[in-house]
Assembly symmetry: D2
């Protein structure tokens, strides 16, 4: 079978692929600052004779145009996180730092979300496809996307014209290494899979006064507390119990002294939902409650709402998901499993939505014992090198096979 043929070099390339993985692991870079990572990917693609199209500062796409047939895109995100790795791997990226261009401060960086695997597996797969062009037909696009961690990278590639620079994909694919799946397993799911998310900074206005004369002011701390308390009713009362929704107030800051009633308070909220109507309801309800509580408190100015870090819903299309699942079942057998919705968010869907292409996104188990595995973004999150690296590479080849492989 063609899949086997395409993957026939897995053993012979393993050392090189593992070395490359370790390079990426040890050279993590912050979102939109993935210059070295991006250069290394380009170097690898060009060394294999694969065409490279750069999109924006650090985004790039490897393109294999291989005759008639569907256009299939596979995305790998490439950025690291601003934190220090604490894993006990012998190749751990201990002490790596980078100057954050937004703050000017040196900050630790680590691949504690596993994007190093996403890069390496996608490189392995595009090279394998390139080596075995005779077995398949169509176009393969290896999309190396920057800045997934701050929801900026996919938007940036769209802003930089990815839709004009590439043919429209028939399907857009993605994968993520997870601590929650058994090691070596690939997990699929049709429908809502990663939540829509948004952050909102809310500034509410009171009126300062001395703490002994609250009647001369409007207390923004009592107001903010009333808001936080009342926001709990959104999930508890306004959203159907069978829906999944979260409203978290992650920060509350107001005041400087015990006896001075401050002028304002700033709240930072985060919302999650697996349904766009639910997400819209959350935001309508938050704004409604905040505005009305401000009015109840005689707030002298309208509250201000600043939305940021907005992630769309990742909702796998049924048809490509079924195709991928069938292929996975056949190839991986018991290692092809169901994936539960993940309480996290992604900007993965931004690019296929810009193209108007269907998409599916699957999970890749990363730890021999997933019951004790650290979660993504934990300083200890460093998946097992193998079988993760091989399995993630195989998964891409198997996933594209229903579209690209020639009948054998």
């Amino acid at each position: 079978m063609s899949v086997q043929k395409i993957l026939s070099d897995l053993d012979s390339t393993r050392d090189a692929r593992e070395s490359l993985y370790k390079f990426f692991h040890q050279h993590p870079e912050l979102s939109l600052q993935e210059h070295q990572t991006s250069a290394k990917i380009q170097e690898e693609l060009e060394a294999s004779g694969i065409e490279v199209i750069r999109i924006g500062e650090t985004g790039l796409v490897g393109v294999i145009s291989n005759g008639e047939g569907p256009v299939i895109a596979m995305r790998g995100d490439i950025d690291g996180l601003p934190m220090a790795e604490q894993s006990d791997k012998d190749y751990a990226a201990a002490g790596v730092t980078q100057v954050d261009q937004n703050t000017g401060k040196e900050t630790p960086v680590a691949h504690t979300c596993g994007h190093d695997f996403h890069i390496s597996c996608l490189l392995g797969a595009v090279q394998a496809l390139n080596s075995h062009k005779d077995t398949w037909s169509g176009t393969f696009l290896a999309v190396f996307q920057p800045a997934e961690e701050n929801a900026a990278g996919a938007k940036e590639m769209v802003a930089n014209g990815i839709v004009d620079k590439l043919p429209k994909p028939d399907v857009y694919l993605g994968q993520h290494v997870l601590g929650s799946l058994p090691g070596g397993a690939v997990g699929t799911r049709a429908g809502a899979m990663l939540s829509a998310a948004a952050s909102i900074e809310i500034t509410i206005h009171g009126k300062g006064s001395h703490g002994s004369m609250p009647n001369l002011g409007v207390d923004p701390i009592v107001l903010g507390s009333a808001i936080v308390t009342r926001l709990q009713t959104i999930v508890a009362r306004e959203i159907a119990a069978t829906e999944t929704a979260v409203v978290t107030v992650g920060s509350f800051h107001a005041g400087t002294k015990s006896n001075i009633i401050p002028d304002s308070a700033v709240l930072q909220l985060n919302t999650r939902a697996y349904d766009t109507d639910v997400a819209a309801h959350l935001h309508e309800a938050i704004e409604r409650i905040v505005r009305k509580e401000c009015e109840a408190a005689r707030s002298p100015r309208e509250p201000e709402f600043r939305y940021y870090d907005q992630y769309p819903l990742t909702e796998n299309d049924a048809e490509p998901t079924a195709k991928v699942r069938t292929a996975f079942d056949e190839y991986f057998g018991e290692n092809s499993v169901d994936l539960a919705p993940i309480p996290a968010s992604e900007d993965f869907s931004v690019i296929p939505d810009a193209f108007g292409s269907p998409y599916t996104y699957w999970g890749l188990g990363g730890f021999a014992d997933h019951t004790t595995a650290p979660g993504n973004h934990s300083p200890f999150f460093a998946p097992d090198l193998q079988p993760t690296l091989d399995r993630g590479t195989e998964a891409i080849i198997v996933a594209v096979s229903p579209w690209l492989l020639k009948e054998s």
Copy 2:
């Protein structure tokens, strides 16, 4: 009458007293850092031949022992505030700064609470008494107290042995220039006059988690908001409506990001009461509510309470207050008025309480039109030079007269 005689030099000394006032106004110093102020006071006292007893780093007492008779102490507090003066006086202390020894940072300083008047009036009065020893008999103690603004100075003088270094006063007197009294008026009141106050820093403990998985954590922002909300019931329900009590949460700080539930929250509270039982009830109720709300929320650790800036109740003794009021009525006529309780706090009573002496404390009007006067601690608070300076000097002489003056 002897009072007139003691005050007979008021015209001839006016220029010198006004110059001295402007010196203090233009050289404000932070609490417990009043080195220049203290040195200037000592220099003035010694130039008049008045004995000086230093108590602590910046506290000092001018002592006139003038034969048999009562011991009367009068307090003047001497520190400025960490803020920039914004008055339009031609002698405004614009741009004055001092390095705060606690933080190492340069900070603006200003006499926006009027302590420069307290110093100058007390110096004028002690010098007048010294010039006319023939008219009175007894001992007069001019207590120049540091650090009233942070409630530390009176405690510091007690810690440095004021009780052992001075004779026990038969009465302890004090005055404060106020924006709320008519210009040139002196206001008295028996009983509760300045509130008991305390600040409390409360740390409450949650359990951090990702914002999308609140169930894995304990949300300290929701907990803190429940506490702030519930604290409102103390004044609204637990304290009799006829009592005066305030519970203010002046600061609330928790969290750093919208989607991370933090580990803890820190609240800073301030309480006010005109009755020690009420003050005690406030603190019992605050601790009760905080502890129980923490338990309701499954808080993993006991909350922590740190009390600071605790001011006692200032409750004028009836007998000396009546004596002073009678003397004021006779001398000032319509300018002797009733004073309402002031929603502020003082460490004035700490020293007389340490001696076991009765006390009374009166107000001095500072602005021609008190209906538009800025409040104490406003950057615009700069009382009219006159008649305030003369009136405050006269008030001291008139107030001590019932105890010290010889029958004429």
Copy 3:
């Protein structure tokens, strides 16, 4: 002195007055149903040859026109309370009931607010004045007012034309027997003395649904609880700590079953204040908070507010109060005391306000040991027969003396 002369029959009339008191005590009647009481008063007045003017169903005034001079009115309220007396007096009104005309139900009735004393003392005083017309000059009006307990009686007398039927009083007087004053004492106070009060029934609208599907409804119990919680901030934050204000939610009713979210909730509130601006602020704040909380909750209909049992502030005028106090001090000596503001309300001021007359209202001690005395409206409230009955009669004569007595 004339006062002594007017009161010279106190001993000889004591038995008759005590019998009459016991009659009223044993024949309590509900508000606006005081038919027997009113008839008995009329009978007594007419037996003494005093002119009677009836005002409304159960109100009446005894008028003595005695030549030139001021017009002085004294009010006695005459209704009982719908409760069963539990005192151990041998003349206790055990088991007395009356059919409540509003509900059609038989209900217990008792004079547990002491209005029986108010009637009896006023009858004694008007008869004494009538017997000694030679000692005084002017007009005395003995106003027997119904329905004080439900705030309806004074309004009813105004509605029935009391202002047109009587000459305008130069001063309007009243007294109330109290458990909080020492037995036999009379207490006066200028300024605010009884609180303004109002009751408000608030209906808030939700949208019913099955308890398992709160998202299909609007939960009025969560809304009502948010309102009650938020109302606490009015007294705690919006009213100066030095003011006296109370907002009580005395009843909260919603729902019939655990698993049905009801359509609405009904709250009954009561407010108290000693200042009309404060009272107005309370009502503005309550309506603001209720309306905004309803909007925050997506309430489908505006809330409804029904005000009832509204009592004005009773605020004694300074000049007549000082006159009465001086007269009390002279006559009663140590039994003339200061009265603290009373946390209760009255419709006493409605009639003098309708006339535009100044007023003063004093307290009368009712129990030998006032520290253990039951409060007004307690089922055990039954003041000592003597000296209360005599003292209340004397107090009226002494109080009117500055206006009516001829120079002796």
Copy 4:
């Protein structure tokens, strides 16, 4: 095929079955008062020669012992609801009433939950099985259960020895007519399908006082409101967003007058969960929050919790559900659909749990247009007579076929 054979009399029996259905529809009876219903069922079974075992007052089981093979039980619940039917069926049970034995009051009754279909379909199926004993082998138990509506009937049958009186079923089956499924469809689902539910009556204790003196009491309305507000955090913060849980406070009652602070408040809560751990967490959290809020409020007595109307989770076993689904798919084709979890509760599982038998429970569509169908318990809930009646009968025969039918 045997299923067809068993169902071959459907046409010929239709008129009789429809008449019987209308009889039950027009003779609804309250829970545990289903005397006429029970007698009619017994009469029908005995007329067909089927053995009847009575269990308790109104419960009964039709038993067909037909040789070797599995024991299969099918449950039909038989009680009506205390409400008036408002459907426009020509056979509507308008004006039917029954005296409620608990209250002694006459109350309307109606089959607005569709139990009349459950009885009729089960009677039709057991008669069909009885008529075609040659096609199957084993034992069939038709369990007619009283009092599902108040969660009492299944417990009552267990208490009356159903486990001893019947052989242990290999599987226990049930169905429910629903407004939420397309007409004529049968819907299945493995796992949690109907929620666990419980009602809790909570009495919280305050301390009464006059509304103007809240400081002398403990306000149970403020306390109750704090509890209701705080309960919202359970679903919003303590339960994972991916779980389904509801905490509803369906009634809140306290107080009688606006100006009297009452002694206590009574809340009635209802909880729902699709997981027994979640249900347990809800109850732990409710008790924790209520107790701690009471302590925060200085409540003078422990709160009291009374649990009632407790329904277990209905969680279909995977293996029998899969068997039934396969049989449905084969027989009904597109009319065999997925069923979403239902936000309602049942005592269906009580009897199979008592036996230790696996169970599955399916839904039966009742309205041609399910998008506009009234919900169960609506006064308008009256499913279409056909195809509902036939389909529910067929469904039972098809469901039992994998266990009972002889190989053909």
